[in-house]
Symmetry: D3
Subunit: 239 residues, 6 copies
Amino acid sequence: MMPDRANNRAADTLRTFLLERNVPGAAAGKVLVRAGSTTVLCTASIENQVPPWLEGRGKGWVTAEYNMLPGSTSPRKQRDRSGKVDGRSSEIQRLIGRSLRGIVDLAALGERTITVDCDVLEADGGTRTASISGGYVALAEAIGSLPEFQSGQLPFTDSIAAVSVGIVDGEPLLDLDYSEDVRADVDMNVVMTGRGRFVEVQGSGEEATFDKAQLLAMIDLAERGITQLSQFQAKHLEH
Amino acid sequence: MMPDRANNRAADTLRTFLLERNVPGAAAGKVLVRAGSTTVLCTASIENQVPPWLEGRGKGWVTAEYNMLPGSTSPRKQRDRSGKVDGRSSEIQRLIGRSLRGIVDLAALGERTITVDCDVLEADGGTRTASISGGYVALAEAIGSLPEFQSGQLPFTDSIAAVSVGIVDGEPLLDLDYSEDVRADVDMNVVMTGRGRFVEVQGSGEEATFDKAQLLAMIDLAERGITQLSQFQAKHLEH
Amino acid sequence: MMPDRANNRAADTLRTFLLERNVPGAAAGKVLVRAGSTTVLCTASIENQVPPWLEGRGKGWVTAEYNMLPGSTSPRKQRDRSGKVDGRSSEIQRLIGRSLRGIVDLAALGERTITVDCDVLEADGGTRTASISGGYVALAEAIGSLPEFQSGQLPFTDSIAAVSVGIVDGEPLLDLDYSEDVRADVDMNVVMTGRGRFVEVQGSGEEATFDKAQLLAMIDLAERGITQLSQFQAKHLEH
Amino acid sequence: MMPDRANNRAADTLRTFLLERNVPGAAAGKVLVRAGSTTVLCTASIENQVPPWLEGRGKGWVTAEYNMLPGSTSPRKQRDRSGKVDGRSSEIQRLIGRSLRGIVDLAALGERTITVDCDVLEADGGTRTASISGGYVALAEAIGSLPEFQSGQLPFTDSIAAVSVGIVDGEPLLDLDYSEDVRADVDMNVVMTGRGRFVEVQGSGEEATFDKAQLLAMIDLAERGITQLSQFQAKHLEH
Amino acid sequence: MMPDRANNRAADTLRTFLLERNVPGAAAGKVLVRAGSTTVLCTASIENQVPPWLEGRGKGWVTAEYNMLPGSTSPRKQRDRSGKVDGRSSEIQRLIGRSLRGIVDLAALGERTITVDCDVLEADGGTRTASISGGYVALAEAIGSLPEFQSGQLPFTDSIAAVSVGIVDGEPLLDLDYSEDVRADVDMNVVMTGRGRFVEVQGSGEEATFDKAQLLAMIDLAERGITQLSQFQAKHLEH
Amino acid sequence: MMPDRANNRAADTLRTFLLERNVPGAAAGKVLVRAGSTTVLCTASIENQVPPWLEGRGKGWVTAEYNMLPGSTSPRKQRDRSGKVDGRSSEIQRLIGRSLRGIVDLAALGERTITVDCDVLEADGGTRTASISGGYVALAEAIGSLPEFQSGQLPFTDSIAAVSVGIVDGEPLLDLDYSEDVRADVDMNVVMTGRGRFVEVQGSGEEATFDKAQLLAMIDLAERGITQLSQFQAKHLEH
């Protein structure tokens, strides 16, 4: 039986997806991305050097940081100021960085580092995938501000977007909100390019398992959702 | 000689001041405050307990945290994740917390903690004073959401707002932006209530000194600016 | 073209897999697991309490810690003593813990915590999957030492094992060693139960992408490998 | 009504102020400063390099560290060894450093760093202002030990001293001891030069406010106290 | 050949040893101890509770902390504020605590913790042994301030003192100063009671070895020195 | 009265001592050392640089790290990941490093650092002394793998081994196991070379004292034990 979704959303339908540019900030690229109530500020800052282990190879680097603001959840999320390991944030920011590097021609970037910061203003499920979808747009904006790329020909091999899928009450659902995420037996995050190639597939059952048919159904849903997100990104970057 | 100010601003004129409510977030109170380009997201979260040293005294607590997002400056501001002391942030958030407590009837609040988080989205001077002026509005909104205060009679003894003043090229100026702040010989932050009483006066010469006439001139400018900010806050909270 | 593998190993063949019990240590469960040269000491320690957030619910907890000993790599791996976030270790130990919890009946365990420590003695690729395959055996041994489970009827819903697969020179390969891992365009870790259900699927292209056919081929290889590992574990635990 | 003060001290009278030189230590400058029972060991150490951000500019640097010894208070003050932010100490040492830099000709100092360490042996109110008044003497002693300044012509534009003032039971009082500090509605620290120019004015009401007349009265008291402290310092440095 | 010692000191002669009481501070016990130029402020603070692992056993605890003030050495000693392990300080404070506990009847102390803080004001060799010899006096003073011990009958099984010995240029020397310590092939710290029993013997050759005759000679010298220190302590505590 | 020892061991008899080479790991030297149930994995890793303070002096460095694996004790030993000071580990690894440096010709080693890692797999008393005895063999193996030392002529001035002794029920005992260590009034660790010279002597009474006769008896026992351990090492390294 199909679980009820907020706003009578169908199992294979995305939440309302919005990209807002010209938001406050001093970074070269900045975009506010929303998927339903989930809201992430993505900024992309350029630095004219690379990490020590990459120096002298004429190649650039793209990395990401992920952070939830205290007011993004209720009860309030404590700040990660203690220097202790917050495993979840670390895992998410590594995923975002890896995903974005999957479509950037780092050699064409030259010896620069671009840091994509994803600060969650409101968390209602899918913050990591929204960060990737929005982070790509901020990254494009930042790279487009560099002198050699102002013509608009960006050093991307493809575009990139991401979405979550999951199994709730036995049914595969696209783009889970927080209330669905909590009830899900399996949660999968999929990152794909605009041309339909996979960059990351991360499916986990927390105290649960899934069979191959469910795995394939989740992948199909994700493909469908990412196709729409990629088209939305492309339209948005035209302007 | 009077220094040139952006937009031909007079020495005693505030930057455009804006308060935006209904912004993204899950906190009980939330407001985006802008003073010129300086932009701070203030959220106020309520927790039904107090710090251990205050337990059992039937009194509440108001505290603040201040943080600059990485994209708020160019070059990018590194996150404060190392557990090391960032003296400036610590000093600022102590000031914000102390200022807000100056006008709250903590006994009327009951055994609750309200944390006012001030996350700077864009930093163009005056982020700490904007945090106080905006933090007051977020705090009012949060307290107004509590059952016993929904009538609108909030446990405040007064309202509170803040502004920076300084001496640039020998002239006292109101509400410095970043380019002025950098050139200033003396920088002073003043926190006052809506009824014109002082809560904090913090003036420092960095590798410079000032005389009593300059001290008094700065205080006069601050009084003028805070009067306007207080009126603006009051109007805003009426709606 | 099929890449050369050490010892003429075929694309779909596992490395020599060994489980050694009765190794030094004071933990309730302990096993040394080897996959080729990769060697991990897995110990499972029982504590008669659960984390604070689980107290009073009559349920147990299984968690894992992963660590590479300094001598496990050349050059030497620095110890993670600084309190800084080592994202990779954090991510791996969360995966191991989640995987093991996927097949344990935590309610049957009672209010106990079992910590499975995976200390890598030699790292030649696939340390996280070897940790899961070996960690399951250590966990079984530890639980079997508890009075109520000494009959041999353990509170498992299934067994669990894991393997890595990847795309090297365009070819899907099973159970990559370090030299293959370095050359791989895509790296995927798959965790499955003895009855063939998925617990985790984590595939990533680092600066690369993959298509659906490759995704399916990797999943098929992983299924084949895990079937053999599960049989090996079962035989081993009979004795 | 005027509050009773220990030893029948008048509202505008300083506590007994002492400077002791030739105290134990290996630093170039060292002085024990006492204001009533408050006792601070100020040492000034010279290093022949400057912080990285100042290198190559031919200019020196003066910085300060502030610390309370465990036995300086009862109950015992825990050491600040955890790497956590102790906001108060950080704020105080920034104030001391800024104040001392206000009267040093850093260019004349050459590429040297002088660190003024203020370790509180007994805390009875006013430790930060005593640190500034004593730190100046230690700094003078350290600079006077440098070859180019042994003539006695030190690279100071002025001398510097500090005192606290406050409002207790509605009355402005000079140089609060701990028992007065605890009862004060407003606490203000003022730093001034020997020629009567202001370097820092920091007044705060903790859960209280003050009006302009009180602000001016406190500033007047501070001026009176600092004039005496400056004369005392000058006499002391003659010998 | 006998090495030259400062002030023509003989191989078996202690440096000038001084104990000064009534020094600044708020702790129950406080003493300034000097051995030559080495100067340590020892304070002993009493807290009416014990560490968690000792609760409910009706027994007290004595612990120590050791710290070198920045101005105690030239060049300046950096403060240990980073939260990193400073192995040497940790080792020394464990030695001081263990030594003092060696002569205290912890059961007679009741459920109290006494923390003996040893803050080095000037470091010229032998700071850890001076800390023990002075710490004992501060501890006696603190315990003597407790109501049940004001009669003067302290819960000590013996007194305790310590001294360093070493081999310099092949010769055993008593009570090394810093210049001797640097040249020493072997450095030994000995802690003994007033009645001549050993509590700690710690001898190390840094990149050197020693034979049994040298070991015995060093122990003999230490016994001689500690006998004198114990007499000095006893006389001092009479007053 | 002589205390009972496990396996009817005499007061002056060592536990079964084993050295196992060809254990898993990627380090240049690696050995598993056992003394009774106590088991330590010692690996020695070579790096072609020295610590900054030793650069350019043509001299090498030998250092050690000591760590207990979580499964080495029951209850489980928590990992030292917090960045906090674990005084005991720090003290032990300083002892191991100092001991090994006592017999290495650091100049002959050239500008290399060898790190000897001692990871305890099972802790039954005497882990620090086993680490030294085994660490020497791992170090010899690592140095022997360097081109200039493959002839077998190693840059050692002597061999080194260590053992613990103690006073249990008034009797001096050699090589304490954990159950004896817990009951011991005095615990002493002795490090000696193969030629019978002392490198370290560390005896402590925890809440106890000892007389000179006991001190000498313990030293005699230690000499006897270390003679046997040295012979065992020598035989082992011949092969």
